[in-house]
Amino acid sequence: MSQQTFAQLSNGLVYGAMGVLTIAMFAYAAELAFGTRSRVGRGVAALAARESKVLVAAGGAVAAGAANGPLTAVPVARHLDGAEAVRQAAPERQRRADQFGGVAFSLTRLGLLLMVLSMVGRGLAARRAPWGNMYEFSVASAMVVLAVFVAVTRRRPELRYLGTFVIVPVLLTLGAAITFLYVPAGPLVPALKSYWLVIHVAAAIVCGGVFSLGGVVTVMYLLQDRWERRGVTNRLSRRLPPSDQLDQSAYRLFAFVFPLWTFAIVAGAIWAENAWGRYWNWDPKETWAFITWVVFAGYLHARATAGWSGRKAAAIALLGLSCFVFNYFGVNIWFTGLHSYGGLPNK
């Protein structure tokens, strides 16, 4: 096949992935919608009864006092009980909800596969690593979000309920990529011809994906935490894992990605030294990478500071994510600097 064919195939696969993911998004939404809508009263009553029982047990466990050991077992029990109550309240609808969830997850994996193939096609069309401009970077980041979501969900199935909220930003990113950021496949400008492109940019892409997913989980944590504090239960709150688990999951994502982000910056510095003669130039892209790094360092410290863990730390993480997103879109669009090769059509 010619390079032209590969390029067209790659574009087609992106559209295909968007279609598949759109259906997946509706299937996730249907999973959330089903199962609790009918016979709500019974479900809630059963839930409330079980919750009070669990709370007594929880009180006992606290009294027993496992020193500073993790008491995560208690909320887990409550969550499982909640889901169980719903299941008993509406077995038929629950079965259908599970079916929708299963379909949604399969479609997510199919969408991921299509995106991987699209990137392979793009790489073959351009004869290089397929992340040399903003279009390719966006598609690759969206792919990483999906890949990490699929990987995490296989280990922790309860996170599947985040599906809708993961698919929406992925679709928005893909849509923006194919409409505003699209550039035809082609070779790179000389400044980007280096194996450091593969290393530095790939690390940044993975960071982008994991930061975004961490952001989604953090937002869900903040919502769930709010509902828990106000004693509100609703369709979503019953499906989501309890807030402390969401907090833990978000932390793990950020803790995993922080060293990688550090590595991306260090790799960029090594490349900069090799290309421009200085490992750090305070170019806008570098400056915002540094700001993002400092904010996430703040997040990690906040989690270890009395009075700063929980919601405040989550807010810092979201601030860090906004810095990352601004560094990607804002800096590429409004600032000029050494990193001005996003390939935006107006540049």
Partner: protein, 524 residues
């Protein structure tokens, strides 16, 4: 500082009101500064302080942009300048933040290092009385002797690098000390990183030079177009290499959506490592610099230098040079100036626009349609009068100071054209086009320390985030029926799960395995 509060040595927030006197105040200030809350605050101040450097042009990177910004903002500009907004990263307030942060870091790392050394020498804490209280807990009954179970557990744990203490009936084990080691390593490495950066800033040199094809550069101070050196750097002892730019080649995408996008830049240099050394030919590209000793030469840009010959009325050559023009856009529309201070009846000069692929249009004037020199054109406007070279004010070689000059006629020229100038000024000939390459020449003795510090920081960071500090206990007692009751429990000292799996793994490796699958007794 990234660890959980349990391991923190920081004083509690409820700091006693300081007693009067400087000692009390100093002590209070030190406690405040080294508290995690203030460290957090300083981190945010650092993040915020870095922002203006991305918004305003910076002298270090784009001195020209700063000048034009000051020119356009005559009221605001000087105030911003007073606040160091154009030198953010060398501003006193920026330095104050990061230095305070590093003081805070030292104040945090020192006591924690002491505590960690103690922890490294200590033994795992004794087995608690009631293991079933722990969230991660397993128990089973076996016919094996307690002693055999304890010995087996000890071996299994030792094989997995646990620190183990045993008594007749209990095993206490701890693992994951590397977490805190990594944490401390990370923070100490940041200190070394700062030292490396300082080394580069004090002893490093960096400069830039433009070399036209056929031209040469010798690494001495006067030959640089711009040069910066650290306060302690020796500028007389620059390594004595030199090079000649034999050829510069650029290629561009032709046709298609990315028409005109650059594809390759190559500069062939004839390099002499020292005067008298035999020359070697080396091709320098954008991502592959020339290295001589500790100094590197980077190809960072290129442009066109029209070859111009100016003759006087009698036809004698006054000036014949290739004049570098500054590229202004992706199609290499370039601006430049030709200055003729001597040899004519008066000083005169030209403002010029060079178009590598020129399209002359009656309405738009001249535009360049492609970056390669396919069909070069030169637009010149004549100016006569005082060039202002004797005022002592530094001038750009790319522009003409026309404040004391009179505008003359305009002319569009192609290669080979000669323009006979009015008022007996003589003539100017556009002989051809050479290319020039611009190079950055940098020597940074701090970059290796910075690199190793960054690597150490990264390693420390990974240890501190991925290693889990955890404790594990086992008790084997004889129950009423003469069988052995084995209880195991674990406690994670840092946020991370997976301890249950580790307990299961230990049980699977014990020599005395339960006959039945052990009952999973969960608390509550």
């Amino acid at each position: 500082m990234t660890d959980n509060a349990v391991l923190s040595t920081q004083p509690h927030e409820a700091v006693r009101q300081p007693g009067l006197g400087p000692r009390g105040l100093a002590r209070w200030a030190w406690r405040q500064l080294t508290s995690m809350r203030v460290a957090l605050l300083l981190l945010f101040m650092l993040a915020v302080a870095a922002v203006p450097g991305s918004v305003f042009p910076q002298r270090g990177a784009n001195p020209g942009d700063v000048l034009s910004y000051l020119d356009q903002h005559r009221t605001l500009g000087p105030w911003l300048d007073r606040l160091s907004m154009f030198d953010v990263y060398s501003a006193p307030w920026f330095a104050a933040i990061y230095l305070l942060l590093f003081v805070s870091l030292v104040g945090c790392v020192l006591p924690r290092s002491r505590q960690h050394v103690r922890a490294l020498r200590s033994r795992p804490p004794a087995t608690p009385r009631n293991l079933s209280r722990f969230a991660d807990h397993r128990s089973f009954v076996t016919d094996a002797e307690p002693g055999a179970v304890v010995a087996g557990a000890r071996e299994a744990l030792r094989a997995r690098w646990w620190r183990v203490d045993v008594t007749a009936e209990t095993v206490a084990a701890e693992k994951g000390y590397l977490r805190e080691t990594g944490n401390l390593l990370f923070h100490v490495a940041l200190l070394f990183l700062l030292v490396g950066i300082a080394l580069g800033a004090l002893f490093g040199t960096h400069g830039s030079v433009i070399v036209v094809e056929g031209g040469s550069f010798a690494n001495t101070l006067p030959q640089y177009d711009s040069f910066g050196a650290g306060r302690l750097a020796s500028t007389s002892g620059l390594p004595p290499f030199s090079f000649t730019l034999r050829d510069f080649r650029a290629s561009y995408e032709r046709g298609g959506a990315q028409d005109g996008a650059p594809r390759s830049f190559e500069a062939d240099l004839l390099v002499r490592d020292a005067p008298g050394a035999s020359p070697r030919l080396q091709t320098v590209e954008v991502n592959s610099p020339l290295e001589v000793g500790g100094t590197k030469v980077f190809l960072i840009g290129h442009g066109y230098a029209p070859r111009i010959t100016v003759r006087d009325k009698a036809g004698n050559v006054i000036s014949s040079t290739a004049v570098p023009f500054l590229p202004r856009d992706g199609k290499f529309t370039s601006m430049g100036a030709i200055k003729i201070p001597d040899g004519g009846p008066t000083q005169f000069g030209f403002r010029g626009v060079f178009l590598p692929t020129a399209r002359m249009d009656k309405v738009e004037g001249g535009t360049s349609t492609f970056p390669a020199a396919d069909s070069p054109g030169l637009l010149l406007s004549l100016w006569t009068g005082d060039l202002g070279l004797d005022t002592g004010k530094p001038q750009s070689v790319y522009s003409l100071d026309t404040s004391r000059m009179k505008a003359g006629p305009l002319r569009s020229m192609r290669v080979g054209d000669t323009w006979t100038l009015p008022d007996g000024l003589g003539s100017i000939t556009f002989d051809g086009v050479s290319e020039f390459a611009s190079f950055n020449i940098a020597h940074d003795p701090g970059k290796e320390p910075v690199f190793f510090a960054a690597m150490a920081a990264l390693a420390g960071l990974m240890l501190s985030l991925f290693v889990r500090r955890r404790r594990l206990w086992l008790r084997a007692t004889v129950d009423g029926e003469g069988r052995t009751l084995v209880e195991v429990a674990g406690l994670a000292k840092s946020e991370s799960g997976g301890l249950g799996r580790e307990l299961d793994d230990l049980l699977a490796r014990l020599p005395a395995r339960p006959s039945d699958p052990y009952p999973a007794e969960e608390p509550a």
